[in-house]
Amino acid sequence: MRVEPFKRWMDERLSISTLGYAAQKKEVPLHRQSIWYYFGGMTLFLFVVQVVTGILLLLYYRPSSEDAFESVQFIMTEVKFGWLIRSIHSWSANLMILTLFIHMFSVYFMRAYERPREITWVTGVVLLLLSVCFGFSGYLLPWNEVSFFATKVGTDIAGVVPVAGKTMLRFLRGGDDVTGATLTRFFGFHVAVLPALATVFIGVHVLLVQLHGMHVPARYQKTYRRMKFFPNFLMRDLIGWLLAIGVLAALAAIFPWELGVKADPFAPAPAGIKPEWYFLFMFQTLKYIPPKIFIFDGEVIGILLFMLAGAALFVIPFVNRNPEQHPRRRLIFNILGGVAVLFIVVMTVIGYLA
C-alpha cells in the first residue's frame, strides 16, 4: 500500500506537516525545577482517563434515586471489569485533583503566571473550580448513604451564602431537599455541563501554553538548557502516564472503591459524615469558627472568606506584576503561598483524623 500519496492528500487539506514541523521545533526548558512541568500533562492524562472510564460507566449507570445505587452495584458485581472501571474512575478523580493542586502551587511558587501568561493562569483557576465541581457532583451519583448526607451538608453550606444562598441551594438541589431531582441535576452537570466547559477551558489553556511556551524561572534564565518536546519530553510524559496507570490499577485492585449502603432520605445522618478530602480543609475550618463573630454568623463569615480566597486566586497575576522588580512583594506572596499550603495540609490532616 502506498502511504505517500495518502499523506500528501491529507497534508494538502490539513497541513499536517506544519503541525509536525511545529512539534519538531517545540522545546521545553531544562533546569533544576523542570520536574514540575510534568504535572500539567499528568493532570490532563488523568482527565482523559476520567473521560474514558466515565463514558464506560455511562453504558450502565441509571441516574434516578430508584436505580442509581442498584446500577452501580450491578456495575461492581455483574459487569465484566465493571469494578475496575468504577474504581479507576474514582481513584483517578482523586489523583487528578491532587496533581491539579501540585500543578497550581508549582506555577504559583515559580511565578509562571507573570506576563504574558495571566490568562493561562485564569483558565487554570477556572479548571480547578470545574474539577472540584466534577468531584462534588460525581460524589452523589452512586446514591449511597455517605454521598447523600455529604451532599446535604455541602449544599447546606452553599445555602448559607448571603443574598444568593437560598436561590443557589434550590438551584443545586432542584427543590428544598436533596432528592432524586438533585441526583438527576448533578448527573446533568457531571456528564454534560462540566465536561463541555472543561473541554473549552482545557483547549484554551493548552493552546496558550503552546503559544507562550513553558515559563522559565528568573534564576534559571541564563543557565537553562533546552529539551525537544517531541519525542524527549513526551516520552518522559509517557513513562509518567504508564506509572500512573500502574498506580491506578494497584489502587483499584487492592482498595476497590466502596459502594456502601443505599441512601435513605428518611434515615438519620450517620455519625462522622465527611466530604471528599479536597473539601476537608474548608469543612474542618468551618468547625473551628465560632457560631457568632460580633453580630455576624460565624459560618457565613467563614464561607465568605473562602469565596474571597477563591476570587483572590484569579487576581494574583494582576496584583503581583513584575515580581522580579519587587523583591518585598515577591516575599509576601511566597509567604502567603506557604501559609496556604501549610493551612490546607494541616486542616486536611486534622479533618481526616477527627
Binding site: W83, I239, L242, G246
Partner: protein, 419 residues
C-alpha cells in the same frame, strides 16, 4: 360628667361582685372544706380528690355520696332526706359505682366509648363470685382503681395503667397472709417480672405487651381454664395457636389434661423461647413427655437438627461473605439475599408448633438452598479476588516493562542526540 362615670363604675363593680358571689355559691363544697381539716382517714378523701377524674369532669362528693355540700352545717349537709348515703359497705361498692357506670346514657355525656358492663363482668369474676358469698376480703372496684384519687386508665400514674397493673394486682396476690384463706400461690408477680412479657413492657415500654388483665381479664378476672389457655395466648400469638390446634399435640394434650401453651412455655414466668426448648437436650421441653426411642423423641431431635443445620449454614455464609467484604469485594447482594434465609429460621421456629418435620422442612429446605447460594457467592467473590490480584501482578509487570522500554529507548535516543 363625673357623676355619670362614678355611677357607671359603681354599676360595673356591683355586677362583678354579684357574679363572683354566684360562682362562689356554685363551687361551694362544704364536704371538702370540713374534711380537709380532719386528720387521718376522714381527711384523706378531701386531700386526694384533687387528682380525681370525676372531680375534673365536674362531679363532686355528693354525686356519689349524696347530701348537700352547699350548706356549712354538718347535720344539714348529711341530711338523709337529701339522699345522703355516707360510706358504702364493701358488699355494696360494685353497685355503688355501677349507679353511674352501668348507665349508658349518663356515661355517654363524659365518654361515649366507655363500656357500661363492668359491674356485670365483675359479677362473673372470682372476686365477684366470692363477694356474693359475703367474703369482703376480695377485690372490688376501689381495690384496683383507688378511691377518691381515681385517675383515667390512660393516665401513667393510674394504678391500672398497663405498666402498673401487675403491681396493683400484687398488692393482694403477693400477700401470703391474705391469700392463705384462698389457697392460691403468691409468687405470680415475682414470676411475671422475670418473664419476656414483663421485659418488653418495662424495659421497652411497649404497652402492647401483656400484663395480668390481658390474660385473666380485668373486671371479670379469673384464671383461664386449661381448655381456654390457647385462646388466651392465641389473641396475640395467633399463628402459633392455629398451627398447634392442627397438630398431633392438640388431641394428645386434651387427652392428658395438659394446658396447651403453658405446658411447654409455662404461664407467669414465660421466658424468651430459645432453640434449646426443642429437641432432646437437657433443657428441651419435648423430653418431659417423650422418652428415648419413641417416635416423638426422634421427631424432636430431627426438628432441632433442622433448625441447627440451617443456622450453621447461615453462619457459614455470613463468615465467608464478611471475609470477602473485608477484602474489598462487593457482596451486598448475597448479603441481602441471606436475610431471606434468616427469615426462614423465624418462620421455621413458628412452624415447630405443627410438630411436623415435613411442614418445617417446607421452609427449612428453601432457606438452606438460599444459604448455600450465598455461600457460593462468597466463594466466588474470594476466587474473583484472587483473579484480580494475579491480574494486577501480570498487568503491573507489563506496564513496568513498557515503561522501562520507553526509558531505555529515550536514553538511547538522547545518547545519539548532539548535546
Amino acid at each position: 360628667m363625673i357623676t355619670k362615670v362614678a355611677t357607671s363604675l359603681l354599676f360595673c363593680t356591683g355586677v362583678i361582685l354579684l357574679a363572683a358571689c354566684s360562682v362562689t355559691a356554685q363551687q361551694k363544697n362544704s364536704c371538702i372544706e370540713c374534711h380537709v381539716k380532719l386528720e387521718g382517714e376522714l381527711g384523706d378523701p378531701a386531700r386526694s380528690i384533687k387528682n380525681d377524674i370525676h372531680l375534673s369532669r365536674g362531679l363532686s362528693c355528693n354525686d356519689c355520696h349524696g347530701g348537700d355540700p352547699t350548706v356549712d352545717d354538718k347535720v344539714a349537709a348529711k341530711d338523709l332526706t337529701k339522699g345522703y348515703l355516707g360510706r358504702p359497705r364493701t358488699m355494696d361498692i360494685p353497685a355503688f359505682c355501677g349507679k353511674c357506670h352501668n348507665d349508658a346514657s349518663f356515661m355517654k355525656k363524659f365518654n361515649p366509648a366507655l363500656r357500661v358492663d363492668q359491674e356485670k363482668e365483675y359479677a362473673t369474676s372470682v372476686h365477684g363470685q366470692l363477694l356474693k358469698t359475703g367474703n369482703t376480703k376480695v377485690a372490688t372496684c376501689i381495690s384496683c382503681h383507688g378511691v377518691h384519687g381515681i385517675r383515667a386508665v390512660s393516665d401513667a400514674l393510674s394504678s391500672v395503667y398497663p405498666s402498673n397493673v401487675a403491681e396493683t394486682c400484687s398488692q393482694c396476690h403477693s400477700d401470703s397472709a391474705r391469700m392463705a384463706e384462698f389457697k392460691i400461690p403468691t409468687n405470680q408477680y415475682e414470676k411475671y417480672k422475670s418473664s419476656v412479657h414483663a421485659k418488653v413492657l418495662y424495659e421497652k415500654q411497649d404497652l402492647s405487651a401483656p400484663t395480668c388483665n390481658d390474660c385473666h381479664g380485668n373486671h371479670g378476672a379469673a384464671p383461664p381454664g386449661i381448655a381456654s389457655v390457647a385462646n388466651v395466648c392465641g389473641q396475640c400469638h395467633a399463628r402459633q395457636a392455629e398451627l398447634f390446634r392442627a397438630s398431633v399435640h392438640k388431641t394428645a394434650f386434651d387427652n392428658s389434661g395438659l394446658g396447651e401453651c403453658i405446658t411447654c412455655h409455662s404461664n407467669h414466668d414465660i421466658r424468651s423461647p430459645t432453640d434449646e426448648l426443642i429437641g432432646t437436650g437437657e433443657n428441651a421441653v419435648c423430653v418431659s413427655c417423650h422418652k428415648p426411642g419413641e417416635k416423638g423423641f426422634v421427631a424432636a431431635g430431627e426438628l432441632r437438627g433442622m433448625i441447627d443445620g440451617l443456622l450453621a449454614r447461615i453462619d457459614q455464609s455470613h463468615q465467608i461473605l464478611d471475609r470477602a467484604e473485608r477484602a474489598g469485594m462487593e457482596v451486598s447482594r448475597p448479603k441481602f439475599e441471606l436475610r431471606e434465609a434468616i427469615d426462614g429460621v423465624t418462620h421455621a421456629r413458628v412452624l415447630i408448633h405443627t410438630s411436623s418435620t415435613a411442614e418445617v422442612d417446607k421452609v427449612v429446605a428453601p432457606s438452606v438452598a438460599i444459604a448455600a447460594k450465598t455461600y457460593q457467592a462468597g466463594l466466588d467473590a474470594l476466587a474473583e479476588l484472587n483473579v484480580r490480584r494475579w491480574g494486577l501482578v501480570v498487568s503491573l509487570f507489563f506496564i513496568l516493562f513498557l515503561a522501562v522500554l520507553v526509558y531505555l529507548k529515550l536514553r538511547q535516543m538522547e545518547r545519539r542526540q548532539p548535546a
